[in-house]
Amino acid sequence: MEEKMTYGARQGSMTFLRKQLAKVISKELRIFPVPGASLLRYYHTEALPDTIQLVATPKEADVLLVMGNLSGAMAERAAYTYAQMARPRVLVMAGPDRIEPLYPPDVHTELKPDFLPGIISEIRGCLNSAAWREYTQPFEPEQLLEKIKEAEQDQGHMHHHHDHGEHGGHDHSAHQHGHGDHGGHDHDHSHKHDHGSHSGHDHPHDHQHGDHGGHDHSAHQHGHGDHGGHEGHDHSAHQHGHGDHGGHDHNHGHKHEHGSHSGHDHPHDHQHGDHDAQAHNHEHHNHEEHEGHDHSAHDHGSHGSHDHSGHKHGESRHPHDHHKEHDHDEHCHDDSHQQAGGRSAHESEADHSHEHDHHQDHGGHDGNDHNHGHDPAGHQHDHSGHNHNHAHGGHDHSGHGSGFMSMIAMTKDLPLSPDGLPMEWSDVQFGPFHPGLPGGLRLAMKLDGDTVAEAKAESDFSPLSLPTSVRNNPLLLPDFLEKMNPMAAVSYRLLAQKALENYSGNTAGARLTAVEAAALEKERIVSHLSWLADFALLLGSNWMRDQAIRHFYKFRNNTGDEKALLKFTDRIKNIPYLKIKLSAAGSPVEHDEEHRHHHNHGGHVGHDHSEHQHGHGDHRGHDHNHGHDHSEHKHENHSSHGHNYGDHDHEEYENHEGHDHTGHKHDHDSHGGHDHHAGHDHGDNEHHHEEHQHGKSHQSRSGHSAHEPESGDHEHHGGHESHDHSGERVSEPQNLKLEDFSGPVTRAAGFSKDLRTEEAVYREGGWKPVTTDGNNAWSRLLVRLGEIEQSLRFIAHAETVTGEEASPDVSIPATGMGNGSASIESPRGELILKFHIHEGKLAHLKLASSSAAMAALVNPMTKQMELADALTAVSSMDILPQELNY
């Protein structure tokens, strides 16, 4: 025991009184489970005793319980979680005996069924004997220290931005709360460096404004807003010509938001504040009526590194040392202003990753000596050499002396909410250990107040990796998949078995038997109850949670009371207010609406949307009369072109002239009969729409056939002919839609897709999928409750069915090769397994699940929702994070 609790005990001697206190508190253990409570539930056959509480936050916990092997990312967050726990604290690991960067555990056990009761006395022993120790050590793994250091470097700047990472695990160590004084400076930069989840990022966050000693930057505002009538902007050489900032306020408002933007589409994120001669707000918002905007290679995805080295703020080089440290190499933002001559001369030679929101209101630039370096008459797209000679004849700092808190100045650089109000946005990460979300799921959100502006769901689990033993002996696959997914063990075992049977040529055996189907339905009941317990916790109904857990254990142990369960499901439906609360949560934002927000370019002339991602879903039967000239970026006099994208509302694309869609990602989902040829001149651009390559086995709803789901986003293109999307990024999961997969979420939207309808054993019993309309959290709850009731009936029916009891044995010959595949309707939706066996060994394996598709829908389903609704929406989807990394 001596070596235990070195990092968990409080410093001090274990006096008699303290020992008695420790004994008292150890009788009631508060455990924070990692990755989550639901996994812990699956490892136990009985409910935990009342003396063990699972808590929602590490600050409430005495025990950090780590279960199984964690991925590097999750282990790091577990370490932050442990660091946030108050002493005395006990670290318990079930499974591995060491996970870096966590230190060796105080208590270790094997990860096996009912492991926790066996170690309770040992945990209590740690607290009883070592809640205080004379010799303790701080828990300071390298990763934690780096985070702290990073956060400390922020100190002294008003970032106006909160980057709260890893909630649930509450990682506040790297928060950007720079509220410190800056040695007499007022550097209200509002630079928003949101570095969430960018593993390769080099973002020290440190706006090191060297040599600003004694300067007052309180009034220097680089206002580029309201640039109506810009023509031919070249933002590729953004020069902020703010040299010598004596007495200036560097309220730049640059939003270097590098958080979780992989694959992001930032087509219109500039907010250009007023270009008056006195206040330069470098806030890139609202490029309406831009003409000649060059967004070529505007790709915010996968920022491995950023390079701001060329970002010069100042006529004589604003000493923004931090820009040299940024590494934005992979960013492609040609949205910088070159404003030579004026004090607002931007130069951004390197590609920036500024988030430039809403290009609106840029009217009125002409006439301010803006030499944009292009021919307005011709509306060409060559914006190089674009000069904004704003002729700012000196800055008027009189209105912004220190101490004056002007709301206009304070909110000048802030992003705009949909209601038009400038609001401070926060980057928040919920998970991977958030109590209201599946363990291991990380929800990165951008909050506008407490409204979700943007959300992205990611898994912190390791990608699927087959061990050599399974590769060499495919017959081990069912066991492997079952253990890998304890929360869907039966589904994965059956899936592997069926795929092996399929490989062995036993097609009849690839169908589910009554016994197997009954086992699957039992798992469905148990899985839905487990989900219900977590969902109820999030909703705040402890009664529902307790009842769901009680039934969960009973049905897992085959002692379930069907009548009691049915009564429970009925009572849920009648809980006061529940329907009202849930009906408003989880309905997806219409794709076209989202699109509309991104195309608010009234009056653009010569727009280059290169690399923009236009996710055009649901374009059935519409013409794409773009009227664009896609040839070699020369867009001359396209003043009358119109984007008739069918269901998409492109009406705000008025007066665009000369668009360049080079590299445009037109993700044409569900196009029912497009005409991509009217008015298009694709010229030399890589925007070919010939030889539409849709892959195989297309599951089409309108027109196409032989389209394989994993071929990407070109399902359901009824009527497409000879399209060639090679070179375009067509396989974005973000473009998936509900009807593309099956599961309770899909069925709650009225789609009856369910793989069980293909199984004879279900059909014979007159089985039909449970569906509801609504496509919200309430309808998802109803579908799952309906499925519980249906599964109970099916199990009762299956017990009366006679016939083959189990699947036939499968053998894998040592020679030859072939493919095996199977699909199964798991509790969360379809699971698809495909593999290739070569000479008796697994050569290739591919798993697909509904969870990945649901994760892709998180953003549209949570957009503009209040935080609680967004969490409810995500929880209602029942995403299994392990399935996101297949």
Partner: protein, 297 residues
């Protein structure tokens, strides 16, 4: 002196029972020793200060919070003659003091320099502003009937008929508003564990957290006593001494608070505000007119 001791004993016993009830609402089981263990656990727990916290608010918020509650409890009668300060404006003082709960929560949320605390603070601000309005309006109706702001007078005014029956609309509004002010489930938006992992006090540990916990329990007790005094006849009741009646009624009200919270899901923020401003305020006004009419009749 004896009154002070008796009130203290009632107060501590009340806190204990409220803690047991709170535990029941969470787990569904009565755990009689749980409050003691929880108290000791927080007592010995390490104090953690978040990075870059606002030290003044961080230190002041828990103390201020419990002080506000103690101020309120000091004017509430625990029995006939069992009141620390028989304030002439007692009825009004309840609301005036409880408004500072909102200030404390906002201070706490702000001080930890974290978004969850801050969101919790915003929620508390919106919630408590809204429901304090209702409280003061329905209090007016009870004062109208008693023709006095002295709380003992309000109890005496219910000799013939308790206010719960005389002005049921006012009772329902006050009951729900009390739950909202104490941010009890389903109105626990400022602290919502499953959403904000504790919200305004997520980052407090040790003694500071203990003060918040005790303050919250005292707040629930205070509001339960207030419901009893204003609407359930206070110490009025047959056979048993008045203080026993108040104690039993208070526990009943507190238990009902937790029972509602255990079954009903957390209310949405927009609904919470919408229902209040659209229905609560008009109903409270209607209640005043109704009571006024009844009094004239």
């Amino acid at each position: 002196m004896i009154i002070g001791i008796l009130i203290t004993l009632f107060f501590l016993a009340g806190i204990y029972f409220v803690a047991v009830l709170e535990r029941w609402s969470l787990s569904g089981t009565m755990q009689w020793s749980s409050p003691v263990r929880s108290l000791l656990r927080l007592f010995i727990q390490e104090e953690i200060k978040p990075r870059k916290h606002d030290s003044i608010f961080f230190e002041a918020a828990p103390v201020f919070f419990i002080a506000v509650i103690l101020l309120t409890i000091s004017i509430l009668p625990f029995g006939e003659g069992l009141v620390l300060i028989d304030l002439g404006t007692g009825a009004l003082f309840i609301n005036a003091a409880l408004v500072y709960v909102m200030v404390c929560l906002l201070m706490a949320g702000w001080s930890v320099n974290g978004v969850y605390g801050m969101i919790g603070g915003w929620r508390a601000l919106a919630q408590l502003i809204a429901y304090s309005m209702t409280v003061v309006m329905v209090l007016t109706a009870t004062v109208m009937r008693a023709e006095s702001m002295f709380l003992p007078d309000i109890i005496e005014s219910q000799q013939s008929l308790w206010n719960i029956l005389y002005q049921p609309i006012g009772f329902i509004l006050f009951y729900l508003s009390a739950m909202a002010i104490a941010f009890l489930p389903p109105f626990d938006l400022p602290t919502a564990e499953s959403e904000l992992a504790g919200g305004v006090w997520a980052d407090f540990t040790g003694i500071r957290k203990l003060l918040f916990r005790l303050g919250r329990l005292a707040l629930i007790l205070t509001l339960s006593v207030a419901v009893v005094v204003l609407y359930m006849g206070g110490w009025l009741g047959p056979w048993l001494p008045g203080y026993v009646w108040i104690f039993l009624k208070t526990l009943l009200v507190a238990a009902s608070f937790f029972a509602v919270g255990r079954f009903v899901p957390r209310i949405r923020q927009d609904h919470l505000l919408e229902y209040h401003w659209k229905f609560g305020i008009p109903l409270a006004l209607f209640n005043i007119f109704l009571v006024g009419g009844l009094l004239i009749i």
